[in-house]
């Protein structure tokens, strides 16, 4: 071992390390500090005995206390469910309109509805109900099947063209495929598309649009309404959207309109009452109604 070097000033041994002429002193650590280190080691041994610690292939040492994080989680979840119970029963027993009038229930339904929505609905309708092509925006004020809380509740319960006795619309039947089924020829389809564009003052061919109005009155007005105000405004339950608004479920340019008229459309939504309990569906209805477009 190298010669121990002592610091002249303090008489303390140095570590021999030197930086820029400064030498590190090797002051001894207090003994109790060392003992605390031993206590920590002893503590870890106690921990091995009491808590799950060592892996044993597919198993592990369970520890004497029988502690399990998983069981703790299950217990916590059960506790949470129990705490929610009184609200869930109240929501199940209250009509969707009345839930909106009760501040506590509304807050609970909104919070729950938000997470249910993200779990079940957001995949198609988007976060916050922002919608996508073919999947209606739930935050705007255009509703194919009615935008009151009761309407929304019914739609979620029974779905649209779904496997459910009370489903909205008829399974397999939506908008007629006017072109594919040979009801209208290509020229007529172009004319009626031009007419629909003219409803938003976007038509570039006034003559075709005028001819298209006749086609519209004969073929389309039955579902979309005489003034294209949509089936809801016309008092029908067929899910035909208004054509006078700025909102288009399948695109509002001429090519999209021609495609829609040619091939028809039949949007589908599952009946959620088969998968979710009533309180959940009601919470969802309240949440969707409050996304901003509820009537």
């Amino acid at each position: 071992m190298a010669q121990k070097e002592k610091d002249a000033l303090s008489g303390v041994e140095t570590t021999g390390h030197e930086w820029d002429g400064l030498r590190e002193l090797n002051n001894p650590l207090p003994k109790w500090w060392l003992y605390i280190f031993y206590v920590c080691i002893a503590w870890s041994l106690v921990y091995y005995v009491l808590y799950p610690a060592w892996p044993l292939g597919k198993s592990y040492t369970k520890g004497l206390l029988g502690y399990s994080q998983r069981e703790e989680l299950v217990q916590k979840v059960a506790e949470g469910k129990k705490a929610q119970e009184k609200y869930l029963t109240a929501i199940a027993a209250t009509s969707v309109e009345d839930i909106q009038k009760n501040k506590d229930l509304l807050a609970f339904a909104m919070a729950g509805g938000r997470s249910y929505f993200n779990e079940n609905c957001a995949a198609c309708h988007g976060a916050g109900g922002q919608g996508a092509k073919g999947f209606p925006t739930l935050a705007d004020d255009v509703w194919l099947w009615g935008g009151t809380t009761a309407d929304i509740y019914k739609t979620i319960q029974h779905g649209i063209r779904a496997d459910d006795a009370d489903t909205r619309g008829t399974v397999g039947i939506g908008m007629t495929a006017f072109g594919k089924d040979g009801i209208l020829n290509r020229e007529q389809i172009g004319q009626v598309a031009e007419y629909v564009l003219s409803l938003n003052k976007r038509s570039t061919d006034a003559a075709a649009a005028a001819k298209g109005k006749t086609v519209y009155d004969e073929n389309c007005a039955a579902c979309h309404g005489d003034s294209a105000q949509g089936s809801v405004a016309a008092g029908l339950d067929v899910g035909a959207p208004p054509l006078v608004t700025a909102n288009w479920l399948y695109g509002g340019d001429k090519a999209s309109l021609v495609e829609t008229i040619t091939n028809g459309r039949a949007g589908v939504m599952p009946a959620w009452s088969k998968r979710l309990d009533d309180a959940t569906v009601k919470s969802l209805a309240v949440y969707v109604h409050n996304l901003g477009g509820g009537k």
Binding site: V12, P28, K31, W33, Q100, Q130, A139, D140, A246
Partner: protein, 517 residues
């Protein structure tokens, strides 16, 4: 290293090069080195054995100051949670209450919400600067008189002295056999220590919950496990730190001694042994007069070790300024007592500056204490700025705060009539004690109309009425709708302005998004 006193001067003072030269044979030089049986290779332990400090009782000015500080600080600690402060019917009436459960801090006339935690930061900075200033003025007076570690250690040593006697008796007791008397004394001492610790831990939690309520729960043995846990924690730490760790906390755990030298300069008052007057130290002989002593080259220090024996840090102040010194000045009292007895002037050990000491030692006059130096002026100015900032902040502290978060899904919603709507989560913090109503208006977009989700109010151009309960945060979902004609580009700035019924205004800048074309 087994010297009886640990000597590790932290710094060398350029003004006092003599500080660097230590007397070769300080009292209690290493016996291991002197022993012929010492092994050839220095068998220095990696770890240092704890040598217990037995502070001796002492009387004098600084001891009186220390007792006074102890009494005042303990009184503040125990009484403060019981001071009442009327804040009206809906608020706690405890003057100092750190209500963690409800996320409010109450300090007399100040009520802080969690988002105002920066006041705490400012207060901590102020406290740190105060510590710096005190240190540059008079060394580690905080450590010596006001630090909780010092106060409780002092209290514990006092108990120890009452039960086991003064220094000599305690040493004899510790070295003696375990007799019934020793067991009894030790048991009694530890029992009193534990009671003090329990009272300390018990009082601590009063700062976090309403004190009278908690006291009632204590009396009925109904304390929550959280409260009991904290009482237990502070009982154990008080007992261990003040009973056993003591000066070890200051030397090894506390970071402050390690960098205090950065705040001290040659004009700071520090506990100083006047070596020019004291050296060479030598025991007093009755036969020798002071004149004869002086002629022999001996100084005023009669090497009685009283200054060492009273020191709570267990150091020898005659080795100069040391990291372990907490600046309590008890050695001054001890020395003054002895000097009076032997008929020499007091103040062989004194609070003095190094500048003054150098001047006297080199034959000059004592230099008057310089209170105002660049360092103290700077610390004072910084404190004034911070304190002023806190004061102005509290004076202008609003009773209203708003926060607006724009919905990002969907970014915006196109409505059937072509207009565009954005949704915002709107939070109103009503930091007053009354329910308040507000008028919300949108500034910056003329054609904007406002509606509130779920309140049944009609959408209307311009304004909406909102309310918030006392001392509460109200959350609303606000829809802003703008017709296409009102849109200019995809992003437009927008300001929410909330005006309370009594005229307090809060604004929040946000944006309104729409389609790009």
């Amino acid at each position: 290293m087994s010297t009886t006193t640990e000597q590790q001067p932290l710094q060398t003072d350029p003004a006092r090069p003599d500080r660097m030269e230590r007397p070769a044979a300080v009292a209690g030089a290493t016996p291991a080195a002197a022993s012929p049986k010492a092994p050839r290779r220095a068998s220095r332990s990696m770890y240092q054995k704890h040598s217990k400090v037995y502070p001796k009782a002492v009387q004098g000015t600084f001891r009186r100051i220390k007792w006074t500080a102890l009494a005042v600080l303990l009184a503040i600690y125990y009484v403060l949670p019981w001071v009442r402060w009327d804040r009206g019917p809906n608020a706690p009436d405890q003057a100092v209450l750190l209500d963690l459960a409800n996320r409010r801090f109450y300090l007399f006339f100040v009520e802080l919400w969690p988002q105002q935690i920066y006041y705490l930061t400012a207060a901590l900075i102020l406290a740190a600067l105060g510590l710096f200033l005190a240190t540059s003025l008079a060394g580690r007076v905080w450590c010596g008189y006001a630090c909780p570690q010092t106060v409780w250690t002092d209290l514990y040593v006092w108990v120890e002295r009452l039960v086991e006697g003064d220094r000599g008796e305690r040493i004899r007791l510790d070295q003696g056999k375990w007799t019934a008397r020793k067991v009894g004394r030790k048991a009694l001492k530890n029992l009193i220590w534990l009671l003090i610790a329990l009272a300390t831990g018990g009082a601590w939690i009063f700062y976090f919950t309403d004190a009278p309520t908690l006291m009632g729960e204590m009396m009925r043995f109904e304390l929550s496990s959280t409260a009991l846990g904290f009482i237990g924690l502070f009982t154990v730490t008080t007992y261990l730190l003040a009973g056993f760790a003591r000066e070890q906390v200051c030397t090894y755990m506390c970071p402050w001694p390690r960098f205090q030298s950065a705040m001290i300069d040659e004009d700071s008052l520090i506990v100083t042994y006047q070596d020019w007057r004291g050296e060479g130290r030598s025991l007093m002989r009755k036969s020798q007069s002071w004149e004869e002593r002086k002629a022999e080259g001996l100084g005023d220090c009669i090497d009685c070790f009283n200054c060492v024996q009273v020191c709570p840090a267990g150091i020898d102040i005659r080795d100069g300024l040391q990291m372990q010194c907490i600046g309590c000045g008890l050695c001054i009292d001890a020395c003054d007592e002895i000097m009076a007895k032997v008929g020499r002037p007091a103040g062989l050990i004194r609070f003095d500056t190094q500048t003054s000491q150098v001047a006297i030692a080199t034959g000059g006059q004592p230099v008057p204490y310089r209170l105002w130096r660049p360092r103290t002026i700077l610390y004072t100015l910084m404190m004034l700025v911070i304190a002023g900032g806190i004061g102005i902040g509290l004076l202008l502290k609003p009773g209203l705060d708003i926060s607006v978060l724009r919905d990002r899904a969907p970014l915006f919603v196109a409505l059937s009539d072509g207009s565009v709507r954005n949704a915002y989560t709107f939070k109103i913090s009503n930091m007053t004690r009354d329910p308040r109503s507000y008028t919300l208006a949108v500034v910056g977009m003329k054609e904007a109309s406002l509606s509130v989700a779920g309140d049944g109010q009609e959408e209307q151009a311009g304004t909406q009425r909102l309310t918030a309960g006392p001392d509460m945060v109200a959350t609303y979902r606000i829809f802003v709708t703008v017709p296409r004609t009102g849109l200019q580009g995809a992003t437009q700035p927008l300001t929410f302005r909330l005006t309370s019924a009594d005229g307090e205004v809060a604004t929040y800048d946000s944006v309104f998004l729409g389609p790009a074309n």
